[in-house]
């Protein structure tokens, strides 16, 4: 009984994921590229940065990067808090 429910749920979820991902756009041919073309053009023209990805990471979407740095800082804080030296000595 439990196994049947599990298989049915997996099939439904699989069908949903399969259909949804199949309907995005044909692989290798994104239809609308206006935003990315803007980035590719202006990365070199305004910022004279050869690497378009770095110019997106640190300029056009720079606020995401500070979030990302904050996530890394959060993980460091959490791990150092978990393994802090506290409590009684044995």
């Amino acid at each position: 009984m439990k196994k049947t429910i599990f298989i049915v749920a997996a099939l439904v979820l699989g069908g949903l994921v399969w259909g949804g991902l199949d309907a995005i756009h044909p692989f290798g041919d994104p239809g609308q590229v206006a935003m990315d073309d803007y980035f590719l053009e202006h990365a070199i023209k305004d910022r004279s940065s050869e690497n378009a990805v770095t110019s997106i990471v640190f300029d056009f979407r720079g606020f995401d990067t500070i979030g990302e740095a904050a996530v890394l800082f959060t993980a460091v804080c959490s791990v150092t808090a978990l393994f802090r030296e506290g409590g009684k000595k044995k």
Binding site: A23, I24, A34, G62, G67, V71, A75, R84
Partner: protein, 521 residues
């Protein structure tokens, strides 16, 4: 060009700066760190208040990160926004105000509550990061930025829930929350990627203006609703919630309440602003309504049998989230139909939105009083507590106010929002009103039980030396009590000035899009 234009960036940058600079300030000793913690939280609260004033006066606030002009959403020659845009409408400002009040109260409370533990400079950093993540979720207008702040808030919660690492239960609750939260975060990311692949835009308003319902969009909607409903703790996916709330330190639990409300806000933003009228069938609204009713009822029925104060309150939060989902789901049901919207839909949304504010205040206060109970007595088992009313008069008073508010006793603010939900939900089906009333009565019963066993009754010999908790803890609780009393005393003013702009902004999809795209739909 005035400084008020920069408020949306400042409210996120100040807590982040506070978190990054905490290790520097903790070199200067305990006092300096505590002053830093309280002052940064207070600054955040002041900024949130200014934002709320500004949005109330001038309408939707738009802030473009890194552009030549901070309020110009579209660069020349582009029809769609390319940069990260923070967009604050009435609803976001409302949520940010609620969240930063709770954050300030929790910071003040934690100063003396966490005094006897090591690792406090890490705790302070994590607390600010959690605040920043919560505020970022509430005010961002960019899909991928939403995901980033979701992750900041989640990772900070994992660290804070497991902060008392010598309790096995805390580690276990944190691990459980981490699994569920990572699964839902990855579902959110896949959904965002799909939307990006379809439209090549990451801005919420930009996507909303182009959206037409195909199979990929249905898949995205299903993933987003399931993931965000999991994060805010609705019934079938609720199992992380009581554990995490019970095991986290009390000052953190009260902020975790606000963080789960931020996820609920994300769910509403997706349903109302991103999809809005294009949501198509009534399937998703009915799913939300049924989830809401189920979590309302099952949450409270699991709560009445609990014997630990914080676990009991954790189960109650599931049932309270159900109220908001019910109200907002009914509003979503009436969204495409102006007649139904005027009849009951808008009232339901008002009730749901008002309940978010009320719930954040009184649930945070309840968790703080539970922490105070433990701090004074050393136990949180209801069977062992008793007769504390004379020893701890302030805590007793504030617990009574919060308990009366959560059970919806008439003069209190919980009653107003619940009444709005009852009367509007009745128009859809009377069953929902009956379920909501029964839930309310059970809530009252369980809090009467807590009040009677913990505070009333004969004084126990083992608690003869119990004293009232220290000043900063009382201050922290008093801030939230003051908020509840103010909401109670001026219900009409609150409804017309605080709640109605938020509810209107939530329904007004055209305004949300038009603030960025310039011309409405």
């Amino acid at each position: 060009m005035n400084w008020q234009e920069h408020l949306p960036a400042l409210i996120l940058a100040i807590p982040l700066l506070g978190a990054f600079a905490t290790p520097l300030f903790s070199l200067g000793g305990k006092t300096l760190r505590n002053v830093w913690m309280v002052s940064i939280s207070f600054l955040t609260l002041v900024l949130a208040f200014f934002i709320w004033k500004y949005v109330g006066a001038n309408g939707v606030m738009v802030y473009v990160m890194g552009a030549e002009k901070a309020t110009l959403a579209l660069p020349s020659g582009m029809t769609y926004p390319v940069r990260i845009i923070l967009e604050i409408d009435g609803m976001s400002a409302f949520m940010a105000l609620a969240g930063s009040i709770v954050s300030f109260a929790g910071a003040v409370y934690s100063v003396q509550f966490m005094d006897r533990f090591t690792g406090m400079n890490r705790f302070t950093s994590l607390y600010f990061l959690l605040t920043a993540g919560m505020l970022g979720l509430m005010i961002t207008g960019d899909l991928f930025n939403f995901f980033v702040f979701l992750e900041i808030a989640s990772v900070a919660s994992f660290g804070l829930i497991a902060f008392w690492r010598d309790k096995p239960e805390a580690i276990e609750a944190s691990f459980k929350y981490m699994l569920i939260s990572q699964l839902s975060a990855m579902m959110v990311l896949i959904a965002i990627g799909t939307l990006y692949g379809r439209y090549n835009v990451l801005n919420m308003a930009g996507v909303a203006s182009m959206l037409h319902l195909g199979f990929a969009e249905k898949f995205v909607l299903a993933f987003l609703v399931v993931a965000l409903a999991t994060k805010c703790g609705t019934f079938p996916m609720h199992m992380w919630m009581p554990d995490a709330y019970a095991e986290a330190p009390a000052g953190v639990t009260c902020l975790l309440v606000a963080v789960s409300q931020a996820s609920l806000y994300g769910l509403m933003r997706v349903c109302f602003s991103l999809y809005g009228a294009t949501i198509g069938s009534t399937f998703i609204p009915w799913v939300i309504v049924i989830f809401g009713t189920a979590s309302m009822f099952f949450g409270v029925s699991m709560a009445v049998v609990q014997h630990e104060v914080k676990r009991l309150m954790g189960y109650h939060s599931i049932s309270q989230v159900g109220y908001m989902l019910l109200g907002l789901g009914v509003g979503l049901l009436a969204l495409g139909n102006p007649q139904a919207m005027a009849d009951y839909g808008f009232t339901a949304i008002k009730g749901g939105v008002y309940h978010i504010f009320n719930y954040t205040m009184y649930k945070a206060l309840l968790f703080l009083t539970a922490g105070a109970l433990y701090y004074a007595t050393g136990t949180r088992d209801l069977d062992k507590l008793g007769g504390l009313a004379r020893k701890m008069p302030y805590t007793t008073f504030m617990f009574a106010i919060a308990a009366a508010a959560i059970s919806g006793l008439p003069p209190f603010n919980g009653f107003v929002s619940k009444l709005l939900i009852y009367e509007s939900v009745f128009a859809v089906h009377p069953f929902f009103t009956v379920a909501a009333l029964v839930t309310s009565i059970l809530t009252l019963a369980s809090f009467v039980k807590v009040f009677q066993t913990a505070f009333l009754g004969p004084e126990k010999a083992c608690f003869a030396t119990v004293k009232e908790v220290p000043t900063s803890m009382i201050m922290g609780m008093a801030i939230l009590t003051l908020a509840i009393v103010l909401l109670t005393l001026f219900p009409t003013w609150v409804l017309s000035n605080l709640v109605e702009p938020a509810a209107k902004a939530l329904v007004d999809q055209g305004g949300y899009i038009g603030a960025i795209m310039g011309g409405g739909l």
